[in-house]
């Protein structure tokens, strides 16, 4: 069974002349262990798709199911709890809390949720992300790449079954961007998460299991083209 499922999901903003169809009727499924890329130009509806998939906004029409639970049936509080349990967001803008050091960012998650990574597992994660020496640093003392890697660690710390990453490589140079993509791939296979990465950088999608392209809110599965030079 798909861990994440969108059925006939559609999203419109505004009415009349200002009406925007940010998402046209879309069916979508993600399985555990799948790394999926969603590409498309700016304004095509990538973030809209991702936030609807993660339960941060409700579709105008259609249904979103996470692990078999229809989000529309849940009250905001329950939806937040489901997000905390199942979804790890890696956001484009830094999602770090300025007054907590890296270690404390994770500690906060222990305050609000059980079943997060054990000490040893967390250590491994920090090592694989190359941030184990930064545990006592505050966000202001981290570089853009370090912040992004901490953000990934934060998303993974709760053992989510779904990882939703909105342009996680936007603030990184290309070496770092490839590194982060590789890391996401490794994690996807190792932890059997369904990982969806939104990006407008088509160079980063080679290792993905599936690639979707969005144009003007219309989402289409891309046939793989292996003849990249």
């Amino acid at each position: 069974m798909a861990i994440l499922e969108l059925k006939k999901v559609q999203k419109t903003f505004g009415t009349g002349r200002t009406k925007v169809e940010a998402m046209k009727e879309t069916d979508f499924e993600a399985e555990k262990g799948e790394l999926i890329a969603v590409i498309g130009p700016s304004g095509s509806g990538k973030s809209t798709f991702l936030t609807i998939a993660g339960g941060l906004q409700t579709p105008t029409d259609g249904e979103v199911m996470i692990n078999g639970t229809a989000l529309a049936d849940l009250k905001e509080k329950k939806r937040a709890a489901l997000r905390l349990k199942e979804v790890g967001f890696v956001l484009q803008a830094s999602n770090l809390i300025p007054y907590l050091n890296v270690g404390q960012q994770m500690q906060l998650l222990d305050k609000v949720k059980k079943g997060n990574l054990q000490k040893e597992e967390a250590k491994e994660l920090y090592q694989s992300l190359g941030i184990d020496h930064l545990i006592r640093n505050f966000p202001k003392d981290l570089s853009g790449g370090e912040k992004q890697r901490v953000a990934i660690a934060k998303a993974l710390y709760t053992n989510p079954s779904i990882i939703l990453a909105d342009e996680p490589t936007a603030s990184l140079d290309s070496d770092r961007a490839f590194e982060v993509m590789n890391m996401l791939k490794e994690i996807t296979k190792e932890k059997q998460t369904a990982t969806i990465v939104v990006t407008h950088d088509t160079r980063l999608i080679d290792d993905c299991d599936k690639v979707y392209k969005i144009t003007d809110g219309k989402m289409e599965l891309q046939e793989r083209v292996y003849d990249t030079l």
């Binding site: 936030t51 941060l56 905390l84």
Partner: protein, 363 residues
């Protein structure tokens, strides 16, 4: 998982630690407000004692005055025979006179109370001796601080007669003036000079002890009132108390409003941070709990420092400033300050609940 209080402290405390200047300002404002509250409460207390000390010392339940007296001691003129003690456990007569007393050096507004030395309103002597012979008085010991001493000859504004201080007692001020205690004969001589009758029986009031004031049987021309009512009707007493109490209550409101504004501004600044946390699934309840926990920490710190400063100030104040700290009352006021501060934080809780994580992360 329901977070406990200590879990809320995690965000609250770490934020304070990493934004010392910002939160020092908040605590500073709270220190000033609580300092003012404690100081005013001390002042209210001090002024209260200044007015009622001598009456509290009686440990009496009630007082009998004439119906016409309008509850003023000096306006109540009655006779020893007007009350026979029916319905009370104990009673005694009180006569009083207000005067300006001078030891040649210093002048002081005083009340002279004539009391029966064997009665329960006879004060304990803390220094020197009780009055025995005509013209001898026990004085309230605040007069000592003004330079009056045992053996001082006191001349009075209204008569040529003089008095001699033979002893001191403590806590004996009435209506903002120290009291001199003496016997009925001495007081009559002061009042009527050589024309004083032997064994005159004019007095101002009966002071009574009883379990139930309703059982007291007194003549219709008299009124029996409880001690508290008597004190509340002392000139200026209620007005003064009300003014200070009102100021304290206003300060409670002010501290709630000031803190509410501060926290609201801080919360507005943190909307995107809260939004990010909410996007991850951290509940509004946890974030609100953290803000409340933070307010609690801030107000606790502010109130403790304010309390400390008030007590320190109290130690260095000249005796003339009527500040008397009632620690239980200060504790209660401190708790009220903390509670109203936390209530002030609830506006921010509203804001947090309404934060849309989507807007905050700006997808």
């Amino acid at each position: 998982m329901k977070p406990k209080g200590s879990e809320f402290m995690f965000l609250a405390w770490n934020e304070i630690r990493n934004n010392k200047l910002r939160f020092t300002l908040v605590i500073g404002v709270l220190v000033l407000i609580s300092y003012l509250v404690f100081f005013l409460s001390g002042l209210a207390n001090g002024l209260e004692q200044l007015n009622r000390e001598a009456v509290d010392k009686w440990e009496a339940d009630g007082i009998i005055l004439t119906e016409e007296s309008d509850l003023r001691l000096q306006q109540s003129i009655l006779s020893k025979d007007d009350f026979d003690g029916s319905g009370v456990d104990e009673y005694t007569e009180l006569s009083q006179l207000s005067a300006i007393a001078s030891n040649g050096d210093k002048k002081e507004n005083v009340y002279i109370f004539a009391v029966d030395p064997s009665s329960f309103i006879m004060p304990d002597v803390t220094e020197g001796n009780a009055f025995v012979d005509e013209g001898e008085v026990i004085a309230d010991d605040t007069l000592k601080e003004d330079g009056f001493e045992i053996g001082d000859e006191l001349s009075l504004s209204s008569t040529d007669e003089t008095l001699e201080i033979v002893g001191f007692t403590d806590k004996a001020r009435f209506n903002a003036a120290p009291v001199l205690f003496t016997d009925q004969d001495t007081l009559e001589t002061l009042q009527y000079g050589e024309f004083a009758e032997e064994d005159s029986d004019a007095i101002n009031a009966f002071i009574i002890r009883t379990d139930n004031l309703n059982n007291v049987e007194a003549d219709k021309t008299l009124q029996v009132i409880d001690t508290e009512t008597f004190i509340e009707n002392l000139p200026g007493y209620t007005e003064q108390n009300l003014t200070l109490t009102l100021m304290i209550y206003f300060l409670f409101i002010i501290s709630a409003v000031v803190l509410a504004i501060f926290l609201y501004v801080l919360t507005i600044q943190k909307i995107s941070i809260f939004g990010v946390m909410k996007a991850q699934g951290i509940s509004s309840g946890y974030l609100a709990g953290s803000v409340v926990a933070q307010t609690f920490l801030l107000s606790l710190a502010g109130v403790m420092i304010g309390l400390f400063l008030a007590v320190i100030t109290g130690l260095f104040l000249p005796a003339a400033v009527p500040v008397a700290f009632n620690y239980i009352e200060m504790l209660i006021y401190g708790i009220i300050l903390i509670v109203v501060s936390v209530i002030g934080a609830l506006i921010s809780v509203q804001t947090i609940v309404r934060i849309d994580p989507l807007k905050a992360i700006g997808g």
